[in-house]
Symmetry: C2
Subunit: 336 residues, 2 copies
């Protein structure tokens, strides 16, 4: 039975999806638990997170996630415990977070991992204190820089990044409007997460509702979607408003993405709008500061991160499909 | 014959153009020379300038130039001499510049005018020291902020703003690439104005030429056109590059503007590109500083503003059509 104990399961991208992602694009394989070389550690993964942006890495063309490939371990962030160490700096028993990928055991250079407090739920490390929270934090507060009283709009507002953006905007003293994919999510945003308004992007009269929800126009639009919602926001921007381009989920999981929005560059000129793409990795030097401030808001209750949980590594492909279908709220966590 | 001396001619927008502008969209009428009230002056206009951006004011929908209207004096900047004054601050005989419109005599509040040195050619006041030069100056140096060694690309590069942008980028120590509408203009940009390269936007292999001209990708793209050139530039932006959205001349003089460029917002995210619309009027507090620096560069010969001249107020509508057809180089000046 010792042989069984030394096996480890992992999820492989068996082929790049054409059109919407399907669980059949992935396979699970079993391999031996690796041994650490000098400087490396082996992490027993306890949870991974899945983000919509990872879909970009499976596109047919290169994106910020790098050129696509198949037949390899599915990448992604995870949390776990070090069970073997060849590193002087990270001891066995340490709780760590980093790019574990979708697997039960990850062999990684210790320098790729950060040691995290052992007493917090994995979901916090992977959500509000992980890439999702930092993306919301630096994207909204550094790139968008909304001022108190301004209207902040966020798309995919119930998503892993969006639901934090909206709460950070409230902390900043802004009026906050979310755009989400169902009436149920819109109710949750307003009733439970303190949004001032939320609009269902699937509503027949979406544009009218969106206009009504932004009577003072939009100071900062945090765009997770691109496509038609970006198009609507462009027509509602305030003078010298800012659009934070975080992602284009509307274009990820399809072979025929929505066309670019109309009115570019004319609307940008008329209203002196700044539209800026960013990647959270550019703020890596400031992560510790960001995490400290986010953790403080979680502790005071000003910020209530949400997550949805799946059990077992085998549930990860299905969780990814659910995420892209827009049926989840908050950060997607798979307990491994 | 005294009656004749007191007549003044002016150009009226007789109807808003549908499709390309035509001289028949304007009429010339004769009115009495006005008398100044308290605080006003009467300016005998010696020259006006025409900018492509003015076409936006004649669109079927509101733009930054305000809602369109017909049956009124055609607006625009001019230079002239004060021949009657009801103002304590601006004396008869002063040379002034301001929003004279297309007319021989303008009645204006003295506060709308700036007194300019009498010993410079009107073309300088209306070109490099007027809105065109200031647009190039603040757009490139403040909004774009290129760094030495970066590649700066400017569209409508032989135009009133573009030919100054390219020269300012050279002063800043950048590699400069122009996009213009004819081989002749491209030659002029390289041979006479010091551009490192220039590409004819009408060339069959424009995209290949454009790519070859930007081997280090684009640090700052100064966009005067929108449309297909903006689309090409988006695919050539360097990481953290900036797009300065100054105008959309490709959309002004047509009933069917080019579609928005592809890849928004995806390309902005992948390369962390900032795209920002601006209007020079937002920098009004800094005009004096800008003019002083521009005048210094003209004096040292680092900056060689170009203009094309037309004679007589009646030539103004035709000059506007020429400008929009892309057949002119530098600032368009009509000697009244």
């Amino acid at each position: 039975m010792v042989a069984v104990m030394s096996d480890s399961r992992r999820v492989i991208v068996s082929h790049l999806p054409e059109g919407p992602l399907d669980p059949s694009d992935f396979t699970v394989e079993t391999v031996p638990i690796p041994e650490p070389g000098p400087g490396d550690v082996v992490v027993q993964v306890s949870a991974i997170t899945i983000g919509a942006g990872q879909r970009a890495g499976l596109q047919g063309s290169a994106s910020y996630a790098g050129a696509p490939t198949s037949g390899i371990l599915m990448g992604g962030s995870g949390v776990g415990t070090v069970i073997a160490s060849g590193s002087d700096s990270v001891a066995v028993g340490s709780k760590v977070a980093g790019p574990t990928g979708w697997q039960e055991h990850a062999l990684l250079p210790a320098t790729d991992l950060r040691v995290v407090p052992g007493d917090l739920d994995d979901a916090l490390h992977l959500g509000v204190l992980g890439t999702n929270g930092l993306t919301a934090y630096f994207g909204l507060l550094r790139v968008g820089d909304p001022q108190p009283g301004q209207t902040v709009v966020v798309s995919a507002a119930a998503g892993s990044v969006g639901h934090i953006v909206g709460q950070l905007a409230q902390i900043r003293g802004c009026r906050v409007v979310g755009v989400a994919g169902s009436d149920e999510k819109c109710r949750l945003l307003v009733d439970e997460l303190g949004f001032d308004a939320a609009v269902n992007r699937r509503a027949d009269d979406f544009r009218d509702q969106f206009k009504a929800a932004t009577p003072d126009r939009i100071g900062v639009y945090f765009d997770n979607t691109g496509g038609a919602i970006l198009g609507s926001a462009l027509f509602r921007m305030a003078t010298q408003g800012r659009i934070v381009c975080c992602g284009a989920v509307s274009a990820y999981d399809t072979a025929s993405p929505e066309p670019s929005p109309r009115g570019i560059p004319g609307l940008l000129v008329n209203n002196r709008v700044r539209m800026e793409g960013f990647l959270v990795f550019d703020f890596a030097d400031l992560y510790d500061d960001g995490r400290a401030e986010l953790a403080g808001w979680v502790e005071t209750g000003d910020l209530e991160p949400r997550h949805i949980e799946y059990e077992g590594l085998d549930s990860a492909p299905g969780a990814f499909v659910d995420l892209l279908a827009g049926s989840t709220v908050g950060t997607t966590i798979v307990r491994v």
